[in-house]
């Protein structure tokens, strides 16, 4: 009996000490500050993050609790604005480049330069991405956001089809013309794209970045140049000629992204032009097409002596409010979400391209690997900014519509860009 009592006592002691430890742990976890992190995307775009955040939160040694919220709808900015207006914005939040420009110009974002220097990221973060993370006129070199994932503006091609028809991977306009000719001869469309939306302007972006870089875009945005500048007209004329020569198939004017990808994946077209983020929908559609293989063209010179190889959208910006109430907590959350641990997992499981080269070592997707190895290094300058993100949403819509009509043969490049400039003038008048 004594033995039984003794064992029971020991068990009780052990249990109570376990409960005590557990409750202390719970108390520690619940007492630590909560840092709200808002992501404008849907959870499906970063499906591994929820688990990683739970893993972080379950560790009692960590100083904060991260409260991650995905939005994935246009209501995101309304919510963010409302919370800013109410004086209670989230500690960390994601912004698109255009909105980011407005926020950073208005002095509402915390300057991350010290943080980047302390963590050594100022050395490793791609220089093009760092330039991207400042306001449009960045005289002080401020960095007001952490640019998340890069996408290069690229041309995808059907590797098996190219092999079958003996087509060399194009490197300039001449070889692209030749590739298109062979594809057309075999009854295939050469390049398709989803020109009923942003892909229309993406076409211009590809040539503009090589021909004249970013300065013209910044100047036009600030009213020091015009969108119908002769050099931009020249860039769009190159695109127009590609349509007239059947390099870009005119049917693209009717397609949205999904329809263009369907043409590419089903083998009706040899190439598809967009940016690397479209690997996800291509892979999704290609899952039902066994044998379909693709990659991206490493480099095409649309012009002689291009400034850079491709324009890059260096990602959306992860920002902290200038008057953040819990700055240490916000920086801790940012460090975790954009640290090597989460990066390795995201590269491996989701296939995102980070702006820190060493974090992409586990990237296995052939097309994304090509982008990382061949395109990003040569685009690590401020001339790589992606036109689609460098104009107001109204001008972007106008450009999309105009280029769509140009592909349909209804407008000239000059008319398209005259209209874009007039839209920008009207918009500025409406804003004042």
């Amino acid at each position: 009996m004594k033995k039984v009592l003794c064992v029971l006592c020991i068990m009780l002691c052990a249990l109570s000490s376990m409960f005590a430890a557990g409750s202390a742990e719970t108390k520690a976890t619940s007492d630590r500050p909560v840092v709200r992190v808002y992501c404008g995307w849907a959870e499906t775009q970063l499906p591994n993050w929820r688990g990683l955040v739970e893993e972080y939160n379950s560790n009692p040694d960590n100083p904060i609790t991260i409260q991650l919220e995905f939005f994935g709808s246009s209501g995101y900015f309304d919510r963010l604005n409302a919370e800013f207006l109410a004086g209670d914005p989230p500690e960390v939040f994601q912004l698109t480049k255009t909105v980011f420009n407005e926020y950073s110009a208005a002095g509402r974002l915390y300057d991350l330069r010290d943080y980047l220097a302390e963590t050594g990221l100022s050395e490793t973060l791609n220089k093009g991405a760092q330039a991207w993370a400042g306001p449009l006129v960045n005289e002080t070199g401020g960095v007001y956001g952490f640019p998340d994932f890069a996408n290069t503006s690229c041309i995808f091609y059907n590797t098996k089809m190219f092999e079958e028809y003996g087509i060399e991977e194009p490197t300039d306009m001449e070889s692209l013309r030749e590739a298109a000719r062979i594809l057309n001869e075999h009854g295939k469309k050469a390049i398709v794209t989803g020109a009923s939306d942003w892909c229309a302007t993406d076409l211009l972006s590809k040539v503009q970045a090589q021909l004249c870089g970013t300065d013209i875009l910044i100047d036009a945005y600030l009213g020091n140049a015009q969108y119908n500048d002769p050099i931009l007209v020249e860039a769009l004329t190159i695109v127009d000629n590609m349509v007239k020569e059947n390099i870009i198939d005119p049917s693209s004017a009717d397609y949205n992204d999904d329809e263009a990808i369907a043409e590419f994946v089903s083998g009706n077209a040899g190439m598809y032009t967009a940016h690397t983020a479209m690997t996800a929908p291509i892979d999704s559609m290609a899952a039902s097409m066994p044998g379909f293989e693709y990659n991206i063209i490493k480099n095409i010179d649309f012009v002689e002596d291009p400034l850079i190889s491709v324009p890059v959208t260096w990602g959306q910006m992860w920002c902290i409010p200038a008057d953040c109430k819990n700055l240490d907590g916000a920086l801790e959350a940012l460090s975790y979400l954009f640290g090597e641990y989460v990066a390795n997992d995201t590269v491996e499981k989701v296939g995102k391209i980070y702006n820190v080269e060493s974090w992409n070592k586990n990237l296995t997707h052939p097309a994304l690997r090509t982008a990382v190895d061949y395109q990003m290094p040569s685009s690590a300058t401020a001339d790589s900014f992606y036109l689609v993100d460098m104009v107001s949403s109204k001008v972007l819509e106008n450009l999309n519509r105009g280029i769509q009509q140009m592909i349909q043969g209804r407008l000239t490049p000059q008319e398209v860009l005259d209209n874009a400039q007039q839209t920008w003038v009207d918009e500025q008048a409406q804003r004042q």
Binding site: F77, D254, S392, S393, E397, Q430
Partner: protein, 278 residues
């Protein structure tokens, strides 16, 4: 009254006050400047607003001409003639009970240039030259959107028209039959005059619907193709306010839209009351 004030009066008055400012929507409203009627003056020179207004009126005229007669016609058939009334009645109401987003996505697929049902059919019967991008062609997109809107809207008003038809005393119709009136004469001289108030209600509601059109265009064409060929006042208002961050200008568009609806509805009501007095 409190609920009305909170959910109706406050938003409308707020919109009105925003429309006289240059508020962006992303800064505190207190930082916005009062600009008087500038937003309204800008609208007069804004080609996109003018195009949206034109589109809205073209869409509206077709809707007003098509929806009431079609609703009445279907209601009349359901009330009088056809066998399997309940079954056909159910079929007729399906577009009204389906969620708008589903309907719009369905129609986007049906009208797709490459693999849509319409073009597949046209190609199959040898009419390939008519297989065009219905929603991607600037000449056809607004008509296609209007057609889908009619398809979606008519069933709702059919229910109203049917209720109106069933309110007409049977004695009137019987008396007309005894007097030797044929069906057409009964429709013109008995049924339509008896349904005058229902028709005015339908007209008023269609007019209001016309200027409230948003999700239909936003989902099917986003205001395109080309230069704003299907842009409507509310889609442009939304883009100005929430994509371009010009909440003041967007509010001015919203205020103008409300005023247009008020004027047209008031004229319609005045006309209807005068007609009833006659």
């Amino acid at each position: 009254m409190i609920i009305y004030t909170i959910f109706w009066a406050v938003p409308i008055l707020s919109t009105l006050s925003f429309s006289f400012t240059n508020w962006s929507g992303i800064t505190a409203f207190s930082k916005a400047d009062f600009v008087g009627l500038k937003n309204f003056r800008q609208m007069a020179h804004d080609p996109i607003f003018i195009q949206s207004l034109k589109n809205n009126f073209q869409y509206g005229i077709v809707m007003v001409i098509a929806v009431p007669p079609l609703s009445f016609f279907i209601a009349y058939l359901l009330d009088t003639h056809i066998p399997f009334k309940k079954f056909f009645g159910f079929l007729a109401y399906i577009p009204a009970i389906l969620p708008t987003v589903v309907v719009m996505l369905l129609w986007r697929w049906i009208l797709n240039a490459q693999y849509g049902l319409v073009n597949t059919f046209l190609k199959a019967v040898g009419l390939e030259q008519f297989a065009i991008g219905w929603l991607s062609n600037v000449d056809t997109a607004l008509w296609a959107v209007t057609f889908v809107s009619i398809w979606k809207t008519v069933p709702t008003y059919t229910i109203l028209a049917l209720a109106g038809l069933q309110q007409i005393p049977v004695e009137y119709k019987e008396a007309a039959i005894i007097d030797g009136a044929n069906e057409w004469q009964r429709i013109i001289h008995i049924i339509i005059p008896s349904m005058r108030s229902v028709f005015y209600t339908i007209f008023t509601l269609v007019i209001i619907d016309v200027f409230r059109v948003f999700e239909l265009v936003y989902i099917m064409t986003e205001g395109g193709p080309g230069y704003y060929s299907t842009e409507m006042l509310l889609t442009y208002m939304y883009k100005s306010s929430f994509s371009s961050y010009m909440a003041g200008y967007g509010s001015a568009i919203a205020t103008t839209t409300i005023l247009i609806v008020l004027v047209i509805t008031a004229l319609n009501l005045k006309f209807s009351s005068r007609s009833e007095e006659d």
